[in-house]
Symmetry: C2
Subunit: 227 residues, 2 copies
DNA sequence: CCCCAATGTTGACACTGACAACATTATCTA
DNA sequence: TAGATAATGTTGTCAGTGTCAACATTGGGG
């Protein structure tokens, strides 16, 4: 992704061939493949942005930088994302969709509603740890402040998925004396907080040695006690 | 804070008077006071930055913008903060110091360690809600990624304060069967999560009507049950 | 093949951060 | 009190970024 590599890719822009919606350019004679397929820039931008996010953080992310990395003109990304804010909303939205999918998958085949809840909690924290780039976008206050409708909808869907699981657990008799809304907010709070602590390098550093698997299970026990 | 206002303030730069370390310039003849005292720019920058943070978010914050707002030359802020990252670290560090102070204050005069813990939890969440600008800096993944030693120390101090409170509570017999580290991580997780949910506008919106006082108390009951 | 929409390019401009040289203010010491 | 030095603020310049508009290329449909 050096500037030198970008120069090579620019030369590949000229020869246009192929047909159908699979616009794959032939590898350049000098070796190296084009960084994206014409018409698939949006996906390439998202993908590259997530990498930059993980390596350097949000402030260092720029549309021009992405354009350079992918060998397109500096204003091309603006065809897909009006501005950086829209790009970040898309990343966070994608993140929530993946988080929701991971959470939902964890509950599949689990009979008891309480055990489903526990499995979902585990999956959420583990997902945040394994997808720090996405999670850093999801937890960015500015991204939330300027969230577009797609991001709002994705977060709403995630909330609904988990909230429903809490309702089912209480319906099965779990924590009958607590108000459902309180249980739900509590569960979300613990999940968000644990995800931050276990995924953010600074927090991890300051909390000292964290035996992830053991601690996460202990916390699940505290949040969702099984009598 | 318009450019026009900046022009007026620039005119006030010329007459230097007064003595001692209280360098207050006389109000301009046309009205309006200078935005900062010479030598007190650092404080003025921090103060103004927190306002911008709250009104527009981090991305919109710029050193040049602050310089303009305060009527100083564009590069003056760099005398106090090498870059934006340093400014944000300072804000987050100040935030943690205030959060720690609020948390500590809430525990004063409370006899029982468990009640102290509950009071501290309440104070933390309430503080985040009342200081959204600071909390948005504190919770910004980039700010944490590029935290300077001052910020790291402030976060460490906050963690130590609360962790100690958990240790005292368990020492008094609270939750004897749980491992202390798990209780502490759990408590921090719940606090961080609740603070995010109750302070972030997007989260508040999607979680629907939140009866703050009641819910916070219910969550405290779930995190720190009193038998 | 032609038309039009989608997508990508180019050039220009305003804004931001960074840097260096210079200017002003504040502090300290003899 | 004067002089030296440090701290602080100013000015100008340059590179990088976002934004905009006009233009060019690619893709899809009739």
């Amino acid at each position: 992704m050096s500037g030198k590599m970008s120069d090579k890719i620019s030369d590949e822009t000229k020869p246009h061939g192929g047909a159908g919606d699979e616009k794959i350019l032939a590898p350049a004679a000098e070796g190296g493949a084009r960084k994206y397929h014409h018409g698939a820039l949006r996906e390439a931008l998202l993908e590259r942005a997530v990498v930059i996010l993980g390596e350097q953080g949000i402030e260092k992310l720029s549309l021009r930088g992405l354009a350079r990395d992918l060998g397109v003109s500096h204003a091309a990304p603006a065809r897909h994302f009006a501005n950086k804010g829209e790009l970040l909303s898309a990343i966070a939205s994608e993140g929530y969709q993946r988080l929701t999918a991971a959470t939902t998958k964890a509950a599949v085949g689990v009979e008891s509603a309480v055990e489903r809840l526990r499995a979902m909690g585990r999956a959420s924290v583990r997902w945040a740890m394994d997808n720090r780039s996405f999670y850093s976008a999801i937890m960015n206050p500015d991204v939330n402040r300027y969230a577009d409708p797609g991001l709002t909808a994705s977060l709403q869907a995630y909330i609904a998925t988990v909230a429903e699981a809490f309702a089912e657990a209480q319906h099965e008799g779990w924590q009958p004396r607590s108000r459902l809304q309180a249980l739900q907010i509590f569960g979300f709070a613990a999940t968000i907080g644990a995800s931050v602590i276990f995924s953010d390098p600074l927090h991890r550093k300051l909390f000292g040695n964290l035996d992830d698997e053991k601690l996460i299970e202990e916390i699940i026990d505290l949040v969702i006690p099984v009598e």
